[in-house]
């Protein structure tokens, strides 16, 4: 998280830390056996990782404490069937579900995030909150991998501006923007999600204050740079898919 703050305990109780090999990613709890994440967190080199290869931790904001805990048992990994990203240039359908073996009992440190309802909208300018254990900065744009859960508030950006921000970049090295994505951030930069935050939640709040899963940290050209935005999988497009996978499994 670039330009963010340390999250106090119990403030982002849906946050999951997912370690796959040497990679770090995030996820969000959406039900007592299900964690929503990005497909590219669980697909490495074109291979969906086995459940045993995933180490999932919940309920703690400090990575040191997290690692002391046993990871949760994973029984299945469901990657969206249309996710196809051989060259890291196609993040369309960047969404996956992890099923846990045992149900989680919710408490102050571990609570689920809501899925988008029909009333929830992605209004331009609406402030969202993105969190994660990814790269942070310590001033002077020096990047560090954090061991503390961080969060930052960034606004939803108009889709056209998202598209414009990618113009002029070499297409052979720039992922394609689709309607299954939205972007968030500020034109001046400085606040963004970054590497290691992938799969974590971009949340918006509904009128009654309820946090809902608006986006999944997916990709970006750099992190927090001026004129760039963070790109997120648009969860509202996948509510039917999520419910179907959970219902069938």
């Amino acid at each position: 998280i670039i330009g963010g703050n340390d999250a106090a305990e119990h403030t982002i109780p849906w946050q999951a830390l997912i370690n796959v090999g040497s990679s770090r990613g995030g996820g969000m709890i959406i039900a007592d056996r299900w964690i929503l994440t990005a497909a590219h967190v669980v697909v490495l080199n074109g291979q969906v990782q086995t459940p045993e290869a995933l180490f999932v931790y919940l309920g703690v904001t400090d990575v040191h404490q997290i690692i002391e805990n046993l990871s949760l048992n994973v029984t299945a990994v469901h990657v969206h069937s249309e996710y196809n990203n051989p060259n890291n240039l196609n993040f369309d359908h960047d969404i996956a579900l992890i099923k846990l073996k045992d149900p989680i009992t919710f408490q102050a440190a571990i609570m689920p995030l809501c899925l988008p309802s029909e009333d929830d909208t992605y209004d331009t300018g609406m402030m969202g909150m993105v969190s994660g254990f990814g790269i942070t900065d310590k001033g002077n744009q020096r990047r560090f991998l954090t061991n503390k859960l961080k969060y930052v508030h960034v606004p939803v950006v108009e889709q056209k501006k998202c598209s414009i921000s990618l113009k002029g970049k070499p297409s052979s090295r720039t992922p394609r923007l689709t309607n299954n994505m939205f972007c968030a951030g500020t034109p001046e930069g400085g606040k963004d999600s970054c590497n290691g935050d992938s799969g974590s939640g971009f949340t918006l709040q509904s009128e009654n204050g309820r946090f809902w899963a608006a986006g999944i940290v997916s990709w970006g050209l750099g992190c927090g740079q001026k004129g760039t935005y963070g790109f997120y999988t648009k969860v509202a497009n996948y509510v039917d898919w999520i419910n179907k996978i959970m219902r069938e499994n």
């Binding site: 106090a8 119990h10 982002i12 109780p13 039900a31 609570m111 809501c114 949340t203």
Partner: protein, 440 residues
């Protein structure tokens, strides 16, 4: 030539003159032998008769005979002044045979062509029992009871007598009679006439166990007694009533014992007459009653049906528990209960008890709990309430669910619904909000 009777006797038949209904020819002599089975007589009816009339039916005639005895000789017709017409009344033969002879002379009047006769016959059962006693001194057909049957008769004897091998006379026999019907009539031999001398009769009334026998002697009771210093004594003539497990009773005198309730299903009677004196005997009607069982009493929290003032052998009673209670016997639950009044006057099963039902422990609720609101040990009408571990879970439907232990042993939220409460996770509401920074 004389026609032979049919080898197989007919029960009915028809006979008519030659060429009937055309006029009969002259110079005819025809004979019929009719027979019906033994025990029947023949009823012969002329349906039409038109034979040349003459005085004494001298020229043409039809003659009816039984064993060569002429029962009638007929000629003429219904309207002729002379001749002899049988009319339409049947002619009865004394026995099972009958002979008919038709004859015509050699002259037939030209103007009046007679057509002869037509007759029908049928077998009629002979009531041998109503026949007068034979005059040969052999006595009545049956010495005591005659029963007419079709084609024959049967002799029978009064109670206390047996039919001899001659099938018509009776001999005294009053030993070994067993009466197993639920009611009946007994009397001494010859009653109300004096009993024969040197009599020793035994009667056994034995009905199904579960019934008791009552003897009801008729008023006309006479068994000779001997007056002694101690009063009348049944020394030479007596009727002994033997009831199991009780002392035998010897009855005599001129006063009817009236009604005797034996409380037993077996009663033996012994009637003894020596070879002197005179007793006119006795008569009794016996009846039976079903034994009674005690009134079963009441079952707490239950009902015994049917509710009667008396219960008899083979009566059934049923026990039902009030709603919310179950039938228990010997510590085990039973699905239904009935018991029967036995022949020994006892119920074959003791009454059960009704115990309050319980619904068992309410199912635990994942991420929630259950509290007792009222009641005792999950028993009938106990009320529990489920709750969810708030604020992390909230009850499905929004409200905590109260369940009542119903009579069908189910926890229900009302009489119809077995609700399985559920706790749903609360999403998107962290316990702690990210601190606001108020400076701008």
């Amino acid at each position: 030539c004389v026609p032979l009777p049919d080898s197989d006797p007919q029960m009915y038949g028809e006979i008519h003159s030659p060429q009937y209904p055309l006029p009969y020819p002259p110079n005819q002599q025809k004979q019929w032998e009719i027979s019906v089975p033994e025990g029947f007589q023949i009823s012969l009816t002329f349906t039409h008769l038109d034979i040349e009339a003459s005085a004494g039916c001298y020229y043409d005639s039809i003659t009816v005979l039984y064993d060569e005895k002429v029962l009638g000789k007929f000629c003429g017709n219904e309207n002729s002044a002379d001749g002899r017409h049988p009319g339409h009344q049947p002619i009865l033969s004394p026995g099972s045979r009958l002979t008919l002879i038709f004859q015509s002379d050699d002259y037939n009047p030209d103007r009046n062509q007679n057509v002869g006769f037509s007759a029908q016959y049928q077998a009629i059962d002979i009531d041998e029992c109503s026949a007068p006693e034979p005059e040969d001194g052999s006595g009545p057909l049956c010495s005591q009871i005659c029963l007419n049957t079709l084609g024959s008769y049967l002799c029978a004897c009064h109670h206390g007598y047996e039919l001899r091998s001659d099938e018509r006379t009776c001999i005294l026999s009053c030993v070994g009679g067993v009466f197993d019907e639920l009611e009946g009539h007994l009397m001494s031999p010859g009653y109300p006439n004096p009993s024969p001398d040197a009599l020793s009769c035994q009667y056994i009334i034995s009905v199904e166990s579960g019934f008791t026998v009552s003897l009801n002697f008729s008023d006309k009771f006479h068994i000779e007694s001997v007056d002694t210093e101690e009063g009348p004594n049944c020394l030479y003539h007596w009727l002994e009533v033997i009831i199991p497990d009780r002392n035998p009773m010897k009855l005599c005198g001129g006063t009817s014992p009236g009604l005797i309730n034996t409380n037993s299903n077996i009663v033996k009677l012994g009637y003894n007459i020596d070879n002197q004196g005179q007793s006119n005997g006795w008569s009794l009607e016996y009846s039976t009653h079903r034994v009674t069982c005690p009134v079963p009493g009441e079952v707490a929290k239950g009902r015994v049906t049917p509710s009667l003032t008396e219960y008899f052998y083979r009566d059934y009673i049923f026990v039902r528990c009030d709603e919310g209670y179950k039938l228990m016997m010997n510590g085990a639950e039973i699905m239904g209960f009935s018991t029967m009044c036995q022949s020994n006057g006892e119920w074959h099963l003791p009454l059960p008890e009704c115990h309050i039902i319980d619904c068992g422990e309410p199912d635990p609720l994942l991420n929630g709990g259950v509290n007792f609101l009222s009641g005792f040990q999950n028993q009938y009408l106990s009320v529990v309430q489920y709750h969810c571990n708030e604020p992390f879970y909230s009850p499905y439907g929004g409200n905590n669910v109260s369940l009542t232990c119903e009579a069908d042993r189910q926890w229900r939220s009302n009489h119809d619904v077995i609700l399985r409460p559920a706790c749903l996770p609360v999403c998107g509401r962290p316990m702690k909000q990210i601190e606001n920074h108020f400076q701008r």
